[in-house]
Symmetry: D2
Subunit: 174 residues, 4 copies
Amino acid sequence: MIQIICGTNRNDSISKKISIIYQQILNELGLKSNIIDLSELPDDFVFSALYDNAGKNQDFNVFREVMVEAEKFVFIVPEYNGSFPGVLKTFIDGLIFPDTFKNKKAALVGLSSGIQGAGLALSHLTDIFNYCNMHVLAQKPKLMHIEKNMNNGSELGDLYTGLLKEQAELLVEF
Amino acid sequence: MIQIICGTNRNDSISKKISIIYQQILNELGLKSNIIDLSELPDDFVFSALYDNAGKNQDFNVFREVMVEAEKFVFIVPEYNGSFPGVLKTFIDGLIFPDTFKNKKAALVGLSSGIQGAGLALSHLTDIFNYCNMHVLAQKPKLMHIEKNMNNGSELGDLYTGLLKEQAELLVEF
Amino acid sequence: MIQIICGTNRNDSISKKISIIYQQILNELGLKSNIIDLSELPDDFVFSALYDNAGKNQDFNVFREVMVEAEKFVFIVPEYNGSFPGVLKTFIDGLIFPDTFKNKKAALVGLSSGIQGAGLALSHLTDIFNYCNMHVLAQKPKLMHIEKNMNNGSELGDLYTGLLKEQAELLVEF
Amino acid sequence: MIQIICGTNRNDSISKKISIIYQQILNELGLKSNIIDLSELPDDFVFSALYDNAGKNQDFNVFREVMVEAEKFVFIVPEYNGSFPGVLKTFIDGLIFPDTFKNKKAALVGLSSGIQGAGLALSHLTDIFNYCNMHVLAQKPKLMHIEKNMNNGSELGDLYTGLLKEQAELLVEF
């Protein structure tokens, strides 16, 4: 079971759409996956589920358990202010350390409206996951101008679909 | 008026103690400052003050206004999971863009219990602030083993106090 | 006198052309500048001018002197293998430490044939210069698809010229 | 056959000593390895073996062939000016792209006289290798205060030896 993390809590995000597309790709490869949508986190988890309150928020604990049991992850990461969304790092800060990520594997996908494709965001996240002793797949698609590459607002063009398929196949063997 | 941002929402944080020490240093240099403590943010700001809700949370708007009016900032940044706390980036994601940081100046201070001194955290934050067109002072003290360098739990040793004073003086001219 | 460093030793590089264009822009602003072309470095400087041989290569010493006397720099940085050219860092490794960069100012420009615009290269260089206590201007133009934006192989299109002019004006006040 | 790259061309470097120690560790694990010492590169390779001259320097070609045939690498990386030595990146710039690193595996070790342990250097290198589609092992020992941790100038203390052994074992399975 691969956990796909939709890296923002924005409603109706493009990241959510990409997460669903990625799940379909994994499905075609015969792999089961689950989408973790940060928009479903408890509204006050930044205060009720971290530090002295770690483990005390039952709704957040459901996320903690799912994450700690997974072996492989896919992170869909939109670019906010030149890096990843703060909510994604806050989510990571609330997870069980070091068991959630230690010696596990992750694939990262970057999205941006502009031209960077979240390149710096993926670099920063790689630093964080490596610190947590999680290996990161070298291939990290950077989907720039994402809106222009979505047809009808929900279908991804062939170029980007191809990049995600290539990454997904590599993740299987990683 | 220099805004000092205590970069975590943890209660009774060392970052808060360093923020107070930094304010005293600025005071001795004849500079007025204000401490923004992320532990005072609204509990649900990650959902109630971002994206479609930007500007709608009156309690968070107070922070937005203070930040957009400042010209210089000091960020006190503890190391969480190899980078800065997620709540700090989430706070940044909720601010007014691009006016909050554009062509302004910032000084960064890193803290860690371990040996890194938040070095990667400060690198990541520099990327983010440069993306927001804010200049970052080159000198960024990395206060490793911070607990061991606090006397009586609240006084900072001479070495680290000296580093902060040196940075504060440079910030005045920056 | 602003030193413009052409960040590669490749012959007839686009970086050299951008360096010349940047010099013209500075000239129009009434500022004198000089271009340091890494293609003119001694062929064996990596061995004859570093470590135990620091200061012993008279041809390299000319570069050392020019660099240590400057107050402001512009670095034109092409993307090689996802970062800056190794020769640029080797050049930096041969300079006088800490006087060459300490408390000085730099502006960085990134170039790439692909879509990254040397974004990671500029982030890495910022880390290095900040380590050397040199302040880096927040605005760092990332000139992606540079060949497509050069007319007749030597003139830069309006968009990129505008970005360089904007940066140059900011460097004057920085 | 694992290639161990001594990441500096400095004579009698500590990196060389660590490279030899790492080879012994791999030997005890039953793995064959070879040390590539950048101090043995042709003095003028920065000019005679890159760009238009790629493949034309027979002495450098020996290095190119050894690197392109390897499947796993260990990079011993001293900290110079807050990052890796320029000569290491220049060496990478002269290798065969994309075959040298694509879908291969690397382990990185950082060294420093100061307190950083080459942390930023390893982050920068990870960016570069990931760009080249090479996977980097999450565990990257940062050997700070390296001189103080060398006995008799050549033996590594137990703490650091343990970190290298742990990494080497992980590299076998990576």
